[in-house]
Symmetry: C2
Subunit: 325 residues, 2 copies
């Protein structure tokens, strides 16, 4: 099968492409080609099949058509402007997250002639906005409070309609916060959730800007890639017309995150966390959903870690070669 991945230079896209390159197949099907697209050309991993790595502006005229003209059987659409930038640059957010997504859906539709690829769309829990239910059910209404969340909610609606009309076979995944993110600490308001694990594990000091009581839902990068693989290979007949699913994750407080770190590395790593409350970050985080009840996704076979210890272990295995510094 031929697989197209947009946003393939991002963290999840890179890990997804690397896994497919390593395994050479997806489910029971052998991969014969992969096209990796992003605003900067992704660096492809070594693979037994050809990989085309492209630098593309998906929203520019003709680009989406070029990407789908070879009729990839699977499209994994990860390309997006992140939340903070979509909020600070209104035009860019709508251009990439709405126009880019629509261009890709339209390019698929216009091929026609029975072409009906599996289309996996990365959505986000940002489609939900406060006030929340204490535990957010699958039926919670779409109430985004950011432009990013609005654009993802629109993407979900389009995905469902294009699927219903028979143009493609869509699955939308509402990712929880991905933790532990590898790489350097970033300045996203959510960055500390990963920083407080990754940095102490690397022997470095780190700042915790919120109270230990903050509760949030996490899944590892490895789980996120598993979500994509499952969405790409599952029987979609069981989904029904509501094509976007809140993914499972581990719901813990920051205190429980830190306790997991302590169990795995001892108190020395924990002591590298310095509490330095930041009122702005604390206020932003207070507006985020805490806990989901992703009944549909679990029933459909999506799996995440079941403890934060497992999330820390996944980071140690996948990023640190199994060794704690």
């Amino acid at each position: 099968m031929h697989i197209l991945v947009t946003g393939a230079a991002g963290m999840i896209g890179r890990k997804f492409a690397e896994r497919l390159a390593r395994e050479g197949h997806l489910g029971a099907r052998r991969i014969v080609k992969m096209t990796l697209s992003d605003i900067v050309a992704p660096v492809p991993a070594k693979a037994a099949f050809p990989i085309a790595a492209r630098a593309d502006d998906l929203a520019a005229p003709g680009i989406a058509e070029t990407l789908v003209k070879e009729r990839p059987e699977l499209i994994v659409h990860l390309a997006a402007i992140v939340s903070g930038e979509a909020e600070s640059d209104f035009d860019k957010g709508y251009r990439v997250n709405l126009d880019g997504t629509r261009a890709l859906l339209e390019a698929v539709r216009k091929i026609g002639g029975g072409y009906k690829p599996r289309f996996v769309f990365a959505s986000s829990i940002a489609v939900f906005g406060a006030p929340f239910a204490e535990i957010i059910p699958d039926e919670f209404h779409l109430t985004p409070l950011t432009s990013y969340g609005t654009q993802k909610a629109i993407g979900e609606l389009l995905l469902a309609d294009y699927t219903r009309r028979g143009f493609l076979d869509g699955v939308g995944l509402r990712f929880p916060t991905i933790c532990v993110r590898p790489g350097a600490p970033n300045k996203a308001a959510s960055g500390f959730f990963s920083n407080i694990i990754r940095e102490p594990l690397a022997g470095k000091e780190v700042v915790l800007p919120v109270p230990d009581s903050v509760r949030h839902t996490h899944a590892s990068p490895r789980a996120a890639v598993n979500f994509l693989v499952h969405a790409a290979t599952m029987d979609t007949n069981a989904i029904g017309p509501r094509r976007s699913l809140s993914m499972p994750g581990v719901c813990v407080t920051v205190a429980e995150q830190i306790a997991a770190l302590g169990r795995i590395t001892g108190e020395k790593a924990v002591k590298r966390i310095r509490r330095e409350p930041d009122p702005l970050i604390t206020r932003i985080v207070a507006g985020w959903p805490e806990r989901f009840d992703p009944v549909r996704a679990v029933k459909l076979g999506f799996e995440a870690e079941t403890s934060f210890d497992a999330i820390v272990h996944a980071h140690i295995e996948d990023e640190l070669g199994g060794k704690v510094g």
Copy 2:
């Protein structure tokens, strides 16, 4: 104030514009100009203020900019391709209902410089799709099962985001079925709800294609115009970030509709209804929502009729000069 109405040649737009022409003011504010736009030029009523009637393709480049360049303080956006046509002509539905709406929102945003009109958007209960709650709460999730409903749901999301960002002051109204629609019987699947009242009142025979037990929610054209006037004049601070509201209406069975007709006109009119079940229409109607609990709209002061008798009386007063044929 200057008022812009799109879709002004439609039934609701025409009645709204006629009322404003007659009254000369909206709430406490005197109307100094009205711009009526539709795909065919609306025929303006006589008014004490100037009315510009325009034939416009709202989604065509530059049209939305032209419509808002005089900075109307109120925009009532009714222009839309109806449900059936949006389903049969995918391109046209998205072009008018999504691109047209977005063009208008964008034209407002691009004026900037403190321009922040009240923007009333006609949405629809078609944003909801089965399976339904028995009584649909304000918090029911957006699950459209038609392209029309998808386009309206996207309009609601955009309206909320443009409002949150401060570009305009949006209010979205999810209209129930409008009954009794004046004019000739139409072939919309929902047409019979009006036909079975209007035609017997005019001394004509009519076909009822569904069982008497079918339940549905209705508001009169007069109530629909009241919704628009209230949305145009209300204090929007009380709405909060969830800018679209399910409107109130009268929830009755077809049997109760017919009983109201009988109370008002006697059995002679009722005998003009011929039961001729149509399996296709019955199946379509079975997929529609029956009953709403529009707590938010009622609390915010939106009012509809409280009995189907009042809906029949509104038709007799507004369309038949108070006389039953």
